[in-house]
């Protein structure tokens, strides 16, 4: 009958509409590339997730060379980390080439979230990266290819120093204190730029200061060392709190992450960035990006009796196990690591290359900005975790972010914050 047919038609419509929720698919669905021949990867599109700028021009060159299109996703560092963690925990595709910070090694490798690269990348490339390999190795495999040979070093504005009558960058914390007073007297209200927000970039200065003051965060058995008032970690946090109180650092620093902090320095508001990467020199001296172009210089991180220890925080490129085009991803990593490209990226992105070839080329041709200081700092660089980042580093970092931030805001005493942090860290190693 007429009505019933109409009713069934409507039913079909309604049912198919509610089945929309279960529909699958969408997006490219080719299998992860088999074999390594460049022919088989032509036409694929890969997603690359790295938290730093990449000029489109370079990406176009890669596409012209290999036929692979790149969808480059740049989020903030913390946001990138959160997204990678969430997607990997849910075993969902998020990128073919993904950021892999030194701090990820314990967790990501331990959880089996990334492909081992020692069988995927060509031997000569792996040989070239040997010096920076340690941070990305665990369980006998290499899990990422280093792309940013980052470590901590200080940067200062030589024009402001001249105005304050300071001839060279301080080498000890005592000298630093004196110089800060001179800078204040010369009219620079907040001479020091230190990020103190509750972010990864906000705790890095504390790590650095702990090392520079001659101590370690954890001992060889991963027991926390920073709760005792005589420890370097305790003194480091107290130093930060005092710096705020004495007006060496702007009060707004408690909500600033490292990138806006650095922006303020290059806008001419501060004289010294205590903890930054050597790769930021090109940016600081580029008139298009900085108001202090030409005045930025690197300085060795101060210490107790002379230049202090610093630590390396290299970043690498990894291939998640959920990647869709693994061969194309490997091709992208190989392309990035070629000295020509790594150097071009250094100039625009500020990531100091890791490959021995690229580094040699840079310093031979005098393109390594602040090269002398970089070379001088390298012997002071030690790993933050001598035995590699533990699997629980992320929780430690998250706890540290909150507690340190509370301490610098004056909501908790330094002792309370570090005791709580120590207790939480110790709980992980039980």
């Amino acid at each position: 009958m007429n009505g019933r047919r109409g009713l069934i038609g409507l039913a079909a419509l309604v049912v198919s509409a509610s089945l929309l929720a279960a529909s699958c698919g969408g997006g490219s669905s080719s299998s992860s590339g088999a074999g390594g021949s460049s022919e088989s990867i032509r036409g694929q599109t890969i997603t690359v997730m790295v938290p730093y700028d990449m000029p489109q021009k370079l990406l176009n060159e890669f596409t012209a060379q290999t036929g692979v299109k790149v969808n480059y996703v740049k989020l903030g560092w913390d946001a990138t980390h959160t997204k990678l963690v969430t997607a990997n925990a849910a075993k969902v595709y998020i990128a073919d080439v993904a950021e892999f910070d030194w701090s990820f090694t314990g967790q990501f490798a331990g959880a089996g979230w990334v492909e081992p690269l020692d069988t995927v990348l060509p031997k000569p490339l792996l040989e070239n990266l040997k010096n920076t390999d340690a941070a990305f190795s665990a369980n006998g495999h290499t899990w990422a290819a280093c792309y940013s040979n980052d470590f901590r070093v200080s940067m200062y504005n030589k024009k402001m120093f001249a105005k304050a009558g300071i001839s060279s960058f301080p080498t000890t914390f005592d000298e630093l204190a004196t110089d800060v007073q001179k800078l204040k007297a010369a009219g620079i209200q907040y001479p020091l730029a230190i990020p103190m927000a509750a972010t990864e970039g906000g705790v890095t200065p504390w790590y650095l200061l702990t090392l520079a003051m001659g101590g370690q965060l954890f001992d060889n058995n991963l027991k926390p060392q920073f709760a005792s008032p005589s420890s370097a970690g305790y003194k480091a946090l107290q130093w930060e709190v005092d710096a705020l109180k004495n007006g060496w650092v702007s009060p707004g620093a408690v909500s600033l992450d490292d990138t806006p902090t650095f922006d303020k320095f290059t806008a001419g508001q501060n004289a010294i960035v205590l903890a930054t990467g050597p790769g930021n020199m090109p940016t600081a001296n580029d008139p298009k990006q900085s108001s202090i172009a030409g005045d930025a210089q690197l300085g060795l991180v101060p210490g107790m009796t002379g230049p202090g220890s610093s630590f390396g925080l290299p970043e690498g490129l990894s291939i998640p196990v959920t990647a869709k085009h693994k061969a194309a991803a490997a091709a992208f990593i190989e392309w990035w690591e070629q000295p020509k490209n790594a150097i071009a990226i250094y100039h625009t992105q500020g990531s100091l290359p890791c490959g021995a070839d690229a580094l040699k080329q840079l310093s031979d041709t005098g393109q390594l900005q602040g090269g002398a200081v970089v070379t001088a700092e390298l012997p002071h660089v030690v790993p933050l975790f001598p035995s590699g980042a533990p699997i629980w580093y992320e929780q430690f970092s998250s706890d540290a972010q909150g507690l340190l931030n509370a301490a610098v805001k004056g909501q908790m005493s330094v002792g309370d914050a570090l005791n709580q942090l120590s207790a939480k860290a110790a709980a992980h190693t039980q």
């Binding site: 009713l7 309604v14 509610s18 929720a21 980390h81 927000a197 009060p251 909500s255 629980w392 909150g402």
Partner: protein
């Protein structure tokens, strides 16, 4: 004749049954697949261990995660903050909401304009509200510091969102800014339902406007107050957007939801994150139930 009418009636009734089920099917399907099923999945996660990522054997652990969360000092401070947010927000909303409703109750020239302006903060995404208010609270370039310094009330810029109690107050202010229009409308509707005769009767008895308000209006507004109380509480308990934009995951302003977000998505601790979320859900459900009751009584 009667037989024919029965057959028509039967078919119509059957049609109603079939059509009824068909018509609710999409809504029910959406809710079951995208709300109820994830709810169950989430609950299951809350009673499991975090797995080897946290150095534990995978498996069911009963209510252990809930106990962990209740005893964790960071979660406890998040709970304390949330209570503060709720108490502060609801008090402000009710007092200011009634005041605004009383002001706008009688028609006056330009009332349409004022009402239009009043709704704006509620219509904006709370993330945008956070962005706008950052300009007020920013330590270096904010309006508040600028104005107060020019008026010589403070001598140097304050970091408003870094202080303990203060930060909670300022964030609550931003939250209330967005919610107040809704609460004001609730009270406005409540005022409208009070018949004029009540006022004229009390005026005859010689009552001043203030006494009228206290002894006539307020008691009659009780159902509206109940609704406003529960709506305000529900909204304040789940405060997230404003905090995220203004202060990130900083400890001094963490609400329970920010803590859930941090635990689950930054630390990848789904087990404890879901446990905390469910704890909050139970409390919210209680208030939701109160809301239903209050609404019932108000619409009698």
């Amino acid at each position: 004749m009667r037989a024919w009418r029965n057959r028509e009636g039967d078919r119509s009734a059957r049609e109603a049954q079939v059509l009824g089920w068909l018509f609710v099917a999409p809504a029910v399907a959406a809710v079951v697949v995208l709300i109820l099923y994830p709810l169950v999945t989430g609950f299951k996660q809350s009673i499991r261990s975090g797995g080897f990522l946290f150095g534990e054997k995978p498996g069911y652990v009963g209510l252990r995660n809930y106990k962990d969360v209740i005893h964790d000092p960071t979660s406890q401070s998040a709970m304390r903050h949330t209570v503060e947010y709720v108490l502060l927000a609801v008090s402000l909303e009710i007092v200011l909401g009634i005041a605004i409703a009383v002001t706008l109750h009688r028609v006056f020239r330009g009332r349409g304009f004022v009402l239009a302006v009043l709704i704006l903060p509620w219509a904006l995404p709370s993330v945008v509200s956070g962005v706008l208010w950052r300009r007020v609270f920013d330590p270096d370039n904010g309006m508040l510091n600028s104005v107060l310094m020019q008026l010589h009330i403070i001598s140097h810029p304050q970091v408003w969102l870094a202080s303990g109690r203060g930060a909670i107050f300022y964030i609550t202010l931003v939250h209330v800014w967005g919610v107040l229009p809704l609460i004001s409308l609730i009270f406005l509707a409540g005022l409208q339902s009070i018949p004029d005769e009540v006022y004229s009767a009390s005026a005859v008895d010689g009552a001043t406007p203030w006494r009228q308000f206290r002894h006539v209006t307020l008691p009659l507004l009780r159902p509206s107050i109940a609704i406003a109380l529960t709506v305000g509480t529900l909204l304040a308990i789940s405060i997230f957007d404003e905090i995220y934009v203004l202060n990130g995951t900083a400890l001094n302003t963490r609400s329970i939801l920010i803590q859930v977000y941090n635990t689950t998505f930054v630390e990848a601790d789904f087990a404890h994150g879901t446990a905390l979320a469910f704890l909050l859900a139970v409390v919210t459900a209680v208030f939701g139930g109160l809301y239903a009751l209050a609404l019932r009584r108000a619409t009698v």
